[in-house]
C-alpha cells in the first residue's frame, strides 16, 4: 500500500467514524415529519372550496374510472371491513404519510365524519401532493347522497334533476334511492359491473352499515 493510499484510507475511515459518531447523537432521520407547508396557498384552496369533493362527484369519478384515482379510507381496519366506499383502500391516518403516492394521482380521503380526512388532506398537501381532496361529511355524506338519496315531497326542477343524477349513481353502487321514483331496471351494461354483481348482498349490508354509522352519530 503506497503512502497516498494509506493516507486516503485513514482519512476516509476517520470521516466514516466521525459521521457515525455524530449519527449516534443525531438520533433518528427525518421521517417526513417536518414537511413544509405553504399555509397561504392551503388557505386559498380551502377558501375557494378546492379542498373537497362531494360524495356525488366522487361517485361519478369512481363510475367513470377516472385515471389515477385513489380513494383512501382513513378509518381503523375494523370499521373499513364493516363497510367502505367501493374501490377504496384502507390507510389509517398514522400510516398515511408513509404511504407512497404519485404526484399525478388524484387522492380522495374520507373518514366517518369529515375531520380525520381533512387532517389527512393537510398532511398530504404538506408533502407536496397537488391533487388531494376529501369528503367533507365523510361516509355519512356518501351514504346519504349516493347510496340512499332522498327527494322531498315537492321538489323544484333543479332538485329533481340532481336527484335523477344521484338516483342513477345510487343504483350503480347498489343503493336504494327513495321517494316517488319509479322502479326501473338498471341497464344491462351497468348490471355487468363488478360492484353490481353482488347487488343483493351489498344492499343488505349497506342498509345495516347505514344504521350502524348513523347510530354512532358521527
Amino acid at each position: 500500500m503506497t503512502d497516498i493510499t494509506r493516507r486516503s484510507v485513514q482519512v476516509l475511515a476517520s470521516a466514516a467514524l466521525g459521521l457515525g459518531l455524530l449519527a449516534a447523537f443525531a438520533g433518528n432521520p427525518d421521517f417526513a415529519s417536518s414537511a413544509r407547508v405553504d399555509v397561504r396557498s392551503l388557505a386559498r384552496n380551502v377558501e375557494a372550496e378546492e379542498d373537497h369533493v362531494t360524495a356525488v362527484e366522487l361517485a361519478e369519478w369512481i363510475k367513470d374510472r377516472r385515471p389515477g384515482l385513489r380513494v383512501v379510507d382513513v378509518r381503523p381496519a375494523d370499521e373499513f371491513d364493516a363497510y367502505h366506499v367501493p374501490t377504496a383502500e384502507n390507510i389509517p391516518l398514522d400510516k398515511l404519510v408513509d404511504t407512497p403516492f404519485r404526484k399525478d394521482e388524484t387522492i380522495v380521503l374520507y373518514s366517518g365524519g369529515g375531520a380525520h380526512a381533512a387532517q389527512g388532506w393537510v398532511f398530504l398537501r404538506a408533502l407536496g401532493l397537488p391533487h388531494v381532496y376529501f369528503l367533507r361529511d365523510g361516509l355519512t355524506e356518501w351514504l346519504e347522497d349516493v347510496i340512499n338519496p332522498v327527494i322531498s315531497a315537492a321538489p323544484t326542477d333543479s332538485a329533481r334533476n340532481s336527484f335523477a343524477r344521484a338516483a342513477d349513481l345510487s343504483r350503480y353502487f347498489g343503493g336504494v334511492p327513495r321517494a316517488g321514483e319509479p322502479a326501473t331496471v338498471a341497464p344491462l351494461h351497468e348490471l355487468s359491473h363488478k360492484s353490481l354483481a353482488k347487488k343483493d348482498s351489498t344492499t343488505g349490508s349497506t342498509a345495516a352499515a347505514v344504521l350502524r354509522i348513523r347510530g354512532r352519530g358521527c
Binding site: 466514516a16 459521521l19 459518531l21 449519527a23 449516534a24 433518528n28 432521520p29 421521517f31 417526513a32
Partner: protein, 200 residues
Amino acid sequence: MIAPFNEYGLLSDGAGLWIALVIGLGFGWCLERAGMGSARKLAGQFYLTDLTVFKVMFTAILTAMLGVFWLGWLGVLNIGRVYVPETFILPQLVGGVVFGIGFAAAGLCPGTSCVSAVTGRGDGAMAVLGMFTGIFATGIFFGSLESFYNSTARGQLTLPAVFHVSYGIVVFAIVLVALAGFFIAERLERRAQIRGERPA
C-alpha cells in the same frame, strides 16, 4: 428503481430502466477493473488471503448507510418512502445457504459472474448459466414453492425497531463493526502475504 424518484414521479419506469443500465454497466466495469471477475480473487475470501470483496461490500454499505442517514436527517430524502424489503425468516435462511454454496463452489457471486462471463472466462459463463437455470426452475415450480416462499413472514423489520434504539445508534454500531472488520481484514491479508513470501 425502488428509491423515491419513481414514487414522486420524477422518473418514469422507462427512464429508470435506462439509468439502471448505465449504473449496471458502470458497476460491472468497476468490478472488472478491481479484478473481481476472477474466481481466484473471490475465493481468496474464503481462505482469508484476499478480503477485497468483504472490504468492497462493507465500504458500499457504509457509504450508502451514512448517505441515506444524513440526507434523511437533513430532510433531503424521505426515508419513510424508501422501500424496505420484507423479512421471511426460513425462506431467506435457505436462500442464503443456497447462495453461499453457489458462491463458494463457483468462486463468483451474481454480479461478478456476469463480469467474468463478459471477459470471456468459461467458469463465469457457467455460473451465469447456472444462475438463469435456477431462476427458470424457480419460476416453473413456483406454484409448489409458494407456500414456503411466503412462510415465516415478519414484515418490514429494521434493526432500530428490533432493538428499540434510534437509527443513529445503529449507524454508529455498524460503522464500528465495519472499521473493526477492515482492520482485521488488512491484518489477515498481511499475514497471508508474509506466509506466501516465505515458502513452507
